[in-house]
């Protein structure tokens, strides 16, 4: 063999506490000491002269051997502290720490390699690498958190500035009033004026402080809902009542579209009203005089979806996410001295979340109006459940009329019954003209809604018979048809109907019409 003779008689070489071997530049192992052979489970003759050093490496390490080990040996003549797995005869991988020196001799170059088993060290290094990985991940998380805190801090600073300003606003009128009253103490008209101003400003101040307290109670988890089954229509009606004054003042129109069936929410009546009142107030506040505000409710995928839309200032897309954060009012309200801290939406979000709902906003951009959408879980309650009764009772006191519906479309008839119930009336229905006649005679209602296209006698014929009967002169009769031509209206009037409605029915208009017709 062309390899330099190893110090075979040297026990120190053979039994050294580290693996020692020599290899030619082609990688073939010349000599290996006993320690190295034992560690890897080979006999000398299985390694020496027949096995290449690289053959003892797994594929990945063999690649590394080619791309790093060899070039380094060739360029700097030595290599230190390289950690590679070597494969034991039985297939186990043994992590080793390797040093190598390339020596120039008469037979050419020889590589002398020293190896130490580094199982523990490798395990430890693996732990360190993993720990560093975890630390890097944690650090990235920490950085994101710090950024968020910094932003939050900035918003809080801005908020305090706004808060100071808002709290000071009512103070100027206070001072003015006091000064005027001091100058003209005997003027009764001025006293009345001053009283109004102070009351208004005090209201504003109280409102501001209440909002603040409420948001802080929500963020601290101290706000407890007084939950009960409540009707969405009740909630929306109270919210509209509360929100109407500023809408009227600004000559804005409010259009509502609610489903004809009762929708029950498990929630806190006051807080739910607050949610929609806040959104309606906001819509008014950020919409120019004469603008339009819409309130719709529907059921989507088993959840209640209420949308409040406006034709106002709109929201730039980059702010859509943030507007529900506390202290993030985008711009001053358009008109009137309403002021605002930008906590209204934070309050809305907090309250909606407490109810297990969500609130989102969308807008085509600045000046394009915006839509706020509140989604709340729908409770499917039995029709005779307590809240439904409560609703009916409440409306009974206001204005209850008895209504009969005659329609061969059962669904249409029944939903109309529900809708009228919701509107505070008590309704019954029949599905044919003749059955309708009997019901009318028996029930003697205030009002009847009659479909024209009935299977036995049509609506016109039915009305003629009702008007001919002694009990039927005073019933308010309303035709409900799929046709809205002038000719249809005339035919209805001629037959004896008091009014004519085209499907689908606008329930608000129907409600108003019934009220008016009955008053006559």
């Amino acid at each position: 063999m062309g390899y330099p003779a190893g110090p075979e008689d040297n026990a120190a070489w053979r039994r050294a506490p580290c693996g020692l071997l020599t290899a030619g530049t082609d990688g073939l192992i010349g000599q290996a000491n006993d320690t190295f052979c034992n560690w890897l489970g080979y006999r000398h003759d299985e390694l020496e002269g027949v096995t290449r050093f690289a053959d003892l490496l797994p594929m990945g390490a063999r690649l590394f051997h080619q791309t790093h080990w060899q070039p380094l040996l060739q360029m700097q003549g030595s290599i230190a502290e390289v950690q590679l797995d070597l494969i034991h005869r039985d297939g186990r991988r043994i992590p080793m720490l390797l040093n190598a020196i390339r020596r120039d001799g008469p037979e050419g170059y020889t590589d002398e390699i020293g190896a130490m088993v580094a199982t523990d060290r490798k395990k430890y290094e693996r732990e360190l690498i993993d720990a560093r990985q975890r630390a890097q991940t944690a650090e990235a998380g920490q950085r994101a958190l710090n950024d968020e805190l910094a932003r939050e801090h900035r918003r809080k600073d801005e908020f305090i500035a706004t808060l100071a300003h808002e709290l000071r606003n009512p103070l100027a009128p206070f001072a003015n009033v006091l000064e005027v009253l001091r100058l003209r103490p005997g003027d009764a008209a001025l006293w009345d004026w001053g009283y109004e101003v102070l009351e208004r400003q005090l209201g504003q101040l109280t409102h501001l402080v209440d909002d603040l307290l409420e948001v802080s109670r929500i963020t601290q988890g101290k706000l407890v809902l007084r939950r009960e089954h409540v009707e969405l229509s009740d909630i929306l009606a109270s919210a509209v009542d509360a929100a109407m004054p500023p809408i009227r003042t600004a000559h804005q129109t409010l259009t509502t579209a609610l489903p004809p069936v009762p929708l029950t929410v498990d929630g806190d009546r006051t807080r739910l009203t607050q949610i929609f009142c806040n959104l309606l107030n906001n819509a008014s506040k950020f919409t120019p005089e004469g603008g339009a505000i819409g309130l719709t409710a529907m059921v989507v995928d088993g959840a209640i979806v209420v949308e409040i839309s406006d034709t106002g200032a709109g929201i730039p897309p980059e702010h859509l996410e943030r507007i529900f954060d506390m202290f993030s009012q985008l711009h001053a309200p358009l008109h009137r001295a309403t002021g605002g801290l930008g906590i209204g939406l934070a309050l809305v979000k907090g309250l909606t979340t407490l109810h297990g709902g969500t609130v989102t906003a969308r807008s085509a951009g600045l000046g394009q109006g915006s839509v706020f959408q509140v989604t709340l879980p729908l409770v499917r309650s039995a029709p005779d459940s307590a809240p439904a009764t409560a609703t009916a009772t409440r409306h009974e006191a206001l204005r209850k009329s008895r209504v009969v519906i005659i329609d061969d479309n059962v669904d249409a008839a029944e939903t109309l019954v529900l809708a009228l119930d919701m509107l505070g009336h008590s309704a019954q229905c029949a599905y044919t003209g003749l059955a309708g006649l009997q019901l009318l005679e028996r029930a003697a209602p205030d009002c009847a809604l009659v479909d024209i296209g009935l299977p036995d006698i049509d609506g016109y014929e039915l009305v003629r018979r009702v008007r001919a009967a002694p009990w039927g002169r005073d019933i308010v009769l309303i035709a409900v048809t799929g046709w809205g031509q002038e000719a249809d209206r005339r035919a209805a009037t001629e037959a004896g109907f008091n009014a004519h409605f085209t499907k689908p029915i606008d329930f608000t208009k129907l409600d108003v019409a019934i009220g008016e017709l009955l008053r006559r």
Partner: protein, 264 residues
């Protein structure tokens, strides 16, 4: 940042321009046994791929260098700014594919190319034998993770912060293969997962393939595949064990390259 700083460009000698590109693992020092032979009658251009050697590590943009095209564009920048005549490009290993991409993009800038130990695709694919599986490459990445050669946190800042003390760098063990571990891993991934077989047939430049008889990284059949795929290419087999004939068989390498260059 100047192009010179970015790539640690070194220019030696005078004559027709010839640029040498190092492969994966080390840096332009790998050409040390070959360069003197050419510097006598050529303008030899050496540089470090961004992310290797003494290149500007800050310029390593993971997006740009997410494919070999990033390095190919760098080669074009350098040739355009440094050379005044069409250049012969000698690329080792992965750099033979970098030079292929560059010469395909702008053939007018080049005179000829030499591919030392090239592979167009390292991973076996159906009938194609690249020699490796994806798992092998993952294992290489892991091996590199345990061997941050000369790059412990303790020395790295010193190296980077002391450009006026070149001696410091040379004292470091394994310094020729030293680089930022994260970059090295990324470059390894880009290199060994690349597949440029489809680019070979567009090559119209006189091309020499320098193949080693016993090369674990780029086996003979891989070199032959490239030879068949590049129209009119020449193929020279060098008797050598290993992937770096320019280090372990510099004389044979120089002779083969010189024969090819002088004839062109």
């Amino acid at each position: 940042m100047t192009l010179q700083r970015k790539h640690n460009i070194n220019i030696l000698g005078e004559g027709p321009p010839i640029v040498f590109l190092h492969g994966f693992g080390c840096d332009q020092n790998m050409w040390r046994f070959v360069v003197p032979a050419f510097a006598r009658n050529h303008t030899v251009i050496l540089y470090d791929l961004v992310g290797s050697g003494n290149s500007e590590l800050a310029a390593y943009d993971h997006g740009k260098y997410g494919t070999l095209h990033g390095h190919a564009d760098d080669l074009l920048d350098i040739v355009r700014s440094v050379a005044t005549a069409p250049v012969t490009v000698v690329g080792h290993s992965v750099s033979s594919m970098i030079s292929l991409l560059a010469t395909n993009k702008a053939p007018d800038l080049f005179k000829a190319q030499v591919m030392v130990g090239p592979s167009a695709c390292y991973i076996d694919d159906a009938d194609y034998r690249g020699g490796f599986s994806r798992a092998d490459i993952e294992e290489l990445l892991e091996t590199m993770e345990s061997n941050y050669l000369g790059w412990s946190a303790a020395v790295a800042p010193q190296i980077m912060g002391a450009p006026d003390q070149p001696a410091l760098r040379e004292e470091l063990t394994n310094s020729f293969c030293r680089t930022d571990p994260e970059i090295a891993k990324h470059f390894a991934r880009v290199t060994f997962l690349s597949d440029h077989r489809a680019d070979l047939r567009f090559c119209r430049l006189p091309t020499l393939i320098l193949q080693c008889t016993d090369d674990f990284v780029a086996p003979v059949e891989v070199g032959q595949y490239i030879h068949r795929a590049i129209p009119g290419s020449e193929y020279v087999l060098i008797d050598n064990t290993g992937h770096c004939p320019h280090l372990s068989a510099p004389d044979a390498s120089v002779a083969a390259i010189r024969r090819f260059v002088q004839r062109g």
